[in-house]
C-alpha cells in the first residue's frame, strides 16, 4: 500500500543540516497495524505527517497505492487524502464551535457528499461508537476519552483505508487508553490499515509490527 524510499528531511541550522529523517525506507502492506516507537525528537511524528501528506520530505520517494504522492498536484493530493486517510490526534483536535454531530459531518461536507448520505453516515458512526446520546453536545462538554472517540469517529466517517494516529492515548488515563486501543484492534480486524505513533510498549503490542526510530533513522 505504501512505499517510502530513502526519505530525508532536514532543517538548516546555521550552516549545517540538522536531520529529522535520515534515509528512511519503509513498506507498509494493506491491513497492517504498525506502531512507530522511539524517544522524543526521533522523527516519529514527522514520518507520520509525511505519510499523512501534511508534510513533505526534502528528498526521497513516497508511493501511495501506486501513485507518486510527491509529484502530485495539490488538488489531486487533497482528493487522495480525503478518500483514503483518516487522522487521529493526541489532543483530539475537535472543532470547539461544532457539536459532536457536526464534527463528524464536516469531512463529509468537504468531500461533497450529499446531505442525505451524510446523515446516514453520521448516524451510522454515532451508533457504531455508542455516542448517539452525545450528538448535540460540544467538545468541551465531553471527557477526554469521549472526545477521542469522536475524533476517531470523525477520522473514520470518510471510510478511509488508512488510519494515522499520533499518540492517540497520550492524553487519556489507562482505562480510556485501553478502550481506544481495543477499538483500533477491532478496526484493524475489519480491514483498516493503521499506523500509530506511541511511547507506550503496551499500546505497541496491539499492533502487528513495531518500527523503532532513533535520531531520524529506523532501527
Amino acid at each position: 500500500m505504501i512505499q517510502l524510499k530513502n526519505l530525508f528531511k532536514w532543517y538548516n541550522v546555521g550552516g549545517t543540516r540538522s536531520f529529522v529523517l535520515k534515509d528512511v525506507s519503509l513498506d507498509i502492506a494493506e491491513g497492517d497495524f504498525i506502531s512507530i516507537m522511539g524517544p522524543s525528537g526521533s522523527g516519529k511524528s514527522t514520518l507520520l505527517n509525511i505519510i499523512g501528506m501534511l508534510d513533505e520530505p526534502d528528498e526521497g520517494q513516497y508511493i501511495f497505492m501506486g501513485e507518486n504522492v510527491l509529484e502530485m498536484k495539490a488538488k489531486k493530493r487533497t482528493q487522495l487524502y480525503q478518500s483514503h486517510i483518516g487522522y487521529v490526534f493526541q489532543a483530539y483536535h475537535l472543532l470547539d464551535e461544532l457539536t459532536v454531530y457536526e464534527n463528524i459531518e464536516t469531512p463529509l461536507i468537504y468531500k461533497d457528499i450529499s446531505s442525505k448520505e451524510r446523515k446516514a453516515i453520521v448516524a451510522d458512526m454515532l451508533d457504531r461508537f455508542g455516542i448517539v446520546g452525545k450528538k448535540d453536545l460540544f467538545p468541551a462538554q465531553l471527557s477526554g476519552g469521549q472526545q477521542q472517540i469522536v475524533g476517531i469517529a470523525r477520522a473514520l466517517a470518510g471510510s478511509p483505508k488508512l488510519l494515522l494516529a499520533d499518540e492517540p492515548t497520550g492524553n487519556l488515563n489507562s482505562k480510556q487508553g485501553e478502550e481506544i486501543m481495543d477499538l483500533f484492534k477491532q478496526l484493524n480486524d475489519d480491514g483498516v490499515t493503521i499506523i500509530q505513533v506511541t511511547h507506550s510498549e503496551k499500546n505497541a503490542e496491539y499492533g502487528k509490527r513495531v518500527v523503532n526510530m532513533l535520531d531520524g533513522q529506523l532501527k
Binding site: E97, P107, Y110
Partner: protein, 815 residues
C-alpha cells in the same frame, strides 16, 4: 455548504463576543458616518436640479481684473435683462431678482387687508415674472402665468398662505410697513421652494413691474443691484452666447451709456467681461463671487464637498483596515481550527469561502447597525451641518445600492484575511507554532500608523478651526457688540419713533438708544448702501472710492461705542449737521484727504462736510477685509432700534422694554435680537466646520483605537510566553508595561510625525480664506499628539495588564 458556513460564522461571532463587538461596532460606526456624509454630499450636489432645462439657464457674472486677482460679481443694472432679451436672439428669457434690503427686500412689516395687526416676516424679494417661469414651482392657487405682470402684484408661498390667510390667499391684499398708499394684490400661491433650491428662503415674490424705486431707476446703467438670469434657446452654442452677451452688455451699453452720462471708465471696466454661470453651478461654485449682501441662504463650496468625500473615504478605509487588522490579529486563535479543517480534508478554496462568508456576514450586520446609527444620529448631524437631510428609504436604488456596496466592501475587507488565514501550514497551525511572518507585522503596524495619522490630522484641524473661531469672536472689532438689544420692525410706528426712543431711554437699566437700520453687524434686515465717493472737486479726475453710506442718529456712536478720534458727534440742534458727515479713518486715507479732515468736503453725488472721524471698526465678515470707507450722515432710517443696556438682569430689562413696546404697538409682537448673537451668526459656517471636523476626529480616533485594541490583543497573545519567562526571571510589572506599550507608543509617534506636515499644510490652506487669521500654534500639534498617545495607551493597557498580571505558570505550561 453556504448554510454550514453561515452557521460557523454565527457561532464564531457568538463565541468571541468582545472581538465581534469591536469588529462590528467599528464598522457600523464608520458606515453610519459614511451614510451621513453621502446624504450630505447628495444634498449639496442636488441644488436647483428640480427645475427643468437647467442646462440652458445661466446667472450673469461680471468678471473684472482687480490688481493681480479677478473680481467677480453678479450685480447688474436694472435695464440689462430686458435689453439682452430684446437684442440677443439666443436669449429666450431673461429675468431679475432684487434681494437688496435697501430697496425693501428681506424683512418687512405687513398688514393683511388693512387689519390692525402687523406682522414682521422675512423672505421678501423683488422678481420679474420670467424668474417664476425659469424656476417654476408648483402652483397651489391662482395662475402662475402673468402673475407678476401687473405692478404691485405679489406671489406668496403655501406656508405663508396657510399661516396668514388660512390657505385662501389669492385676491387678498397686504400693505408693507404701514404704507397704505401701496396695496399689494396676491395673485398666486406657489409651493415653498425646497431647501435645495436657489429660491429657498424667499416667501414673498413682489413684482418688479411697478414704479421705479426712484425716477429713472429702471433705465439707469450706472447702478448695479439686480441679479440677472437668462434662459438660452435650445441648442444654443453657449460660448457664442456668452461672447455676444458680454459684448452687448459691456461695449454696447454699459460703457457707452456711462460715458454719455459723463462718468469715467476705468481700465478695469474696459477689460471686464460677462460670464454665464450655469444655474446648477450656483450653489457650489460661487465661492469667489462677491455677494454684496444679497445671499439669502447658505452658500456651498465644492472644496468642502471634496473634503467631505475624502473624509468619508478615509473613515471607510480605516474601518476596512481595522477589519483586516482584527481578523489577522485573531489568527492565532483561528490557527488550530484551520489546521484541523485542513487535516480532515478541507482544501484552501473551501476555507477561503468560509472566511469570506464570515467577512460578508460581519459587513452586512454592520450595515444594519450602521443604518440604524445613521438614522439615530441624523438629527444631530442635521443640526451640525445646518441641513434637513433624511434617509431616502423611498428612493428605489437606495437599499440595493447600500447592500451592493457592503458586499463589495465586505469582500475587499475579507479577502486579505481569508487568503492569509487559509494559507497556514496545518502542522504548524496545530502545534501552535508561530504561523505569522514578520512581513505581516510590518503591514499591520503600517495600518495602525495610517489610522492614527488620519485621526491626528482631523484632531489638529478641529483644534485649529476652534482657535480661529474664538479668535474672531473675541477680536477687538472696534465697537461694542455686548449687551446690545436690537428691535426690528419699528417702522410700524415710524411717526412715534422719537417718543419710543425717549421712553426706552428712560428705563433705568438702558444706557443708550439709537435709531438706525445700518448696524455694524449684518443682522437680518440690517441695511447696507454701497456708493462711490470722491473728495470734493476731484469727481472728474478720479474713479471714486467704493464705500458705505449710512443713515444714523445722534446717539449711534455712544450706543455702539464707536471711538471718535477727531471732530465731534452729530447734534440735531445744529442745522448744518444735516449736511455734515462722520467718516471712518479709512475714508480719509482712501480719498487722500491731507491735513485736518474736519471741514473737508466729500461727495457721493451729494456733498457732505466732515464734522467727525471715527476709528476704523469691523462691520463686515472678517473673512474679508472687514471694513472699508464709511460715511455716516444724520438722517432717518426707522425700521431698527438698538438699545445699549448696562444691567446684568437682562430678563428684567427685556420685560421693561416689552412693556414700553406694547404701549406703542399693541398690535405687533416685539421682535428683538442680541447684537453679539448676530455677530456670532456671521461665523456660523466656521463654527460648523469646526464642529464637523471635531466629530469626524472623534469617530476616526474611536475607530483607530478599536484597531489598536485588536493589534494589542494579537501582540500580547504572541508574547504571552515571553512575558511568563520574564516574570519568572523577576521582571517588575512597570518594566513589563513599558516593554509592551513602548512599541505601540512608537507607532503613534510615527503617526504624529506623518500627520504634522499634512495638517499644517491643510489648515494653512483653510486659513487663507480669512483675512483676519491666527498663526498656527504648535501647541495644538502637541495636544493632538498627546491625546492620541493617551488614547492609544488606554486602549492597549487592558490587554497588557491582563498578560502582565497572569500567572506565568499558566503561560509556560502550554508546551
Amino acid at each position: 455548504m453556504i448554510g454550514n458556513n453561515l452557521k460557523i460564522a454565527w457561532r464564531n461571532m457568538a463565541n468571541n463576543k468582545l472581538y465581534s463587538i469591536i469588529k462590528i461596532g467599528g464598522f457600523a460606526f464608520s458606515i453610519a458616518i459614511c451614510i451621513l456624509i453621502v446624504l450630505y454630499i447628495r444634498h449639496e450636489t442636488s441644488y436647483d436640479k428640480m427645475y427643468p432645462d437647467m442646462d440652458r439657464v445661466f446667472r450673469l457674472i461680471v468678471s473684472a481684473p482687480d490688481g493681480d486677482k479677478v473680481r467677480q460679481t453678479f450685480a447688474f443694472p436694472a435695464p440689462a435683462a430686458k435689453t439682452l432679451q430684446e437684442e440677443i436672439p439666443s436669449v429666450e428669457l431673461a429675468g431679475r431678482i432684487l434681494p437688496n434690503t435697501l430697496f425693501g427686500a428681506g424683512s418687512n412689516l405687513f398688514t393683511v387687508n388693512g387689519h390692525a395687526e402687523n406682522y414682521l416676516d422675512k423672505g421678501f424679494v423683488y422678481v420679474d415674472q420670467s424668474i417664476l417661469e425659469i424656476f417654476p414651482l408648483p402652483v397651489i392657487q391662482g395662475q402662475l402665468s402673468h402673475a407678476l405682470d401687473k405692478p404691485n402684484s405679489i406671489v406668496i408661498t403655501k406656508s405663508r398662505a396657510q399661516k396668514y390667510f388660512k390657505g385662501n390667499a389669492v385676491g387678498q391684499t397686504i400693505y408693507l410697513n404701514n404704507n397704505k398708499n401701496v396695496v399689494y394684490n396676491i395673485t398666486a400661491v406657489i409651493d415653498d421652494a425646497p431647501n435645495n433650491s436657489s429660491l429657498y428662503g424667499y416667501d414673498y415674490f413682489i413684482s418688479l413691474a411697478g414704479e421705479p424705486f426712484y425716477p429713472g431707476e429702471q433705465n439707469n446703467w450706472g447702478a448695479t443691484n439686480y441679479i440677472t438670469y437668462v434662459k438660452l434657446r435650445e441648442n444654443t452654442d453657449i460660448a457664442n452666447a456668452q461672447r455676444s452677451i458680454s459684448k452687448n452688455y459691456i461695449q454696447d451699453h454699459y460703457i457707452l451709456l456711462n460715458k454719455k452720462n459723463g462718468m469715467k471708465i476705468s481700465p478695469e471696466i474696459m477689460q471686464s467681461t460677462v460670464l454665464l454661470q450655469n444655474a446648477l453651478d450656483m450653489h457650489l461654485r460661487s465661492k469667489n463671487i462677491s455677494e454684496y449682501g444679497t445671499a439669502t441662504q447658505y452658500q456651498g463650496d465644492i472644496k468642502m464637498v471634496w473634503v467631505f468625500a475624502g473624509i468619508a473615504f478615509f473613515i471607510l478605509l480605516i474601518a476596512c483596515i481595522n477589519f483586516i487588522n482584527l481578523s489577522t490579529a485573531n489568527a492565532a486563535t483561528r490557527a488550530k481550527e484551520i489546521g484541523i479543517r485542513k487535516t480532515i480534508g478541507s482544501n484552501r478554496s473551501t476555507l477561503i469561502m468560509q472566511f469570506m462568508t464570515e467577512a460578508i456576514c460581519y459587513s452586512l450586520i454592520s450595515l444594519l447597525i450602521g443604518l440604524l446609527l445613521a438614522f439615530l444620529l441624523l438629527p444631530l448631524f442635521n443640526n451640525l451641518a445646518n441641513k434637513a437631510l433624511f434617509i431616502p428609504w423611498s428612493v428605489g436604488y437606495f437599499v440595493p445600492a447600500l447592500i451592493l456596496s457592503m458586499l463589495i466592501i465586505g469582500t475587499l475587507a475579507g479577502l486579505y484575511p481569508a487568503l492569509y488565514l487559509s494559507g497556514f501550514q496545518p502542522i504548524n497551525a496545530l502545534k501552535s507554532k508561530s504561523v505569522t511572518n514578520p512581513k505581516s507585522s510590518l503591514l499591520r503596524n503600517g495600518l495602525v500608523i495610517f489610522q492614527f495619522s488620519t485621526s491626528i490630522i482631523l484632531m489638529i484641524s478641529a483644534l485649529i478651526a476652534n482657535q480661529q473661531i474664538s479668535f474672531m469672536l473675541n477680536k477687538d472689532i472696534g465697537f461694542n457688540k455686548d449687551q446690545v438689544i436690537v428691535l426690528r420692525g419699528i417702522n410700524g410706528i415710524a411717526s412715534q419713533v422719537r417718543e419710543l426712543k425717549n421712553e426706552l431711554k428712560a428705563i433705568p437699566s438702558v444706557s443708550d438708544v439709537s435709531i438706525s437700520d445700518y448696524l455694524p453687524v449684518q443682522l437680518e434686515g440690517a441695511k447696507r448702501n454701497g456708493n462711490l465717493f470722491w473728495a470734493k472737486g476731484k469727481e472728474d479726475l478720479e474713479l471714486g472710492e467704493g464705500g458705505q453710506f449710512w443713515n444714523i442718529d445722534e446717539s449711534y456712536l455712544t450706543t455702539f461705542g464707536l471711538k471718535l478720534i477727531a471732530g465731534r458727534n452729530f447734534d440735531p440742534h445744529i442745522a448744518s449737521d444735516s449736511t455734515g458727515a462722520i467718516v471712518n479713518k479709512r475714508m480719509i486715507a482712501d480719498l487722500g484727504i491731507k491735513g485736518n479732515p474736519i471741514g473737508a468736503q466729500i461727495t457721493n453725488g451729494m456733498t457732505w462736510t466732515i464734522i467727525g472721524v471715527v476709528d476704523d471698526f469691523i462691520f463686515e465678515s472678517m473673512k474679508d477685509e472687514g471694513y472699508y470707507p464709511l460715511c455716516m450722515t444724520l438722517a432717518n432710517s426707522t425700521s431698527m432700534l438698538s438699545i445699549k443696556t448696562k444691567s446684568t438682569d437682562m430678563a428684567k430689562t427685556l420685560a421693561d422694554i416689552n412693556t414700553v413696546w406694547n404701549k406703542f404697538s399693541p398690535n405687533q409682537k416685539i421682535d428683538y435680537n442680541f447684537l453679539d448673537a448676530g455677530f456670532a451668526d456671521l461665523y456660523q459656517d466656521v463654527q460648523r466646520t469646526k464642529n464637523i471636523f471635531g466629530c469626524f476626529a472623534f469617530v476616526a480616533i474611536f475607530v483607530a483605537a478599536l484597531g489598536l485594541f485588536g493589534l494589542a490583543t494579537y501582540v500580547t497573545q504572541q508574547r504571552t510566553k515571553e512575558i511568563g519567562v520574564r516574570k519568572v526571571l523577576g521582571a517588575s510589572s512597570v518594566r513589563l508595561l513599558k516593554l509592551l506599550s513602548g512599541d505601540f507608543i512608537k507607532l503613534v509617534f510615527v503617526a504624529l510625525i506623518i500627520a504634522t506636515p499634512v495638517a499644517w499644510w491643510a489648515m494653512n490652506q483653510w486659513l487663507t480664506d480669512f483675512n483676519y487669521r491666527i498663526e498656527i500654534n504648535w501647541f495644538y500639534f502637541a495636544l493632538a499628539g498627546i491625546s492620541a498617545i493617551l488614547v492609544a495607551f488606554g486602549t492597549i493597557s487592558y490587554q497588557t495588564w491582563k498578560v502582565i498580571r497572569a500567572n506565568p505558570v499558566n503561560s509556560l505550561r502550554d508546551e
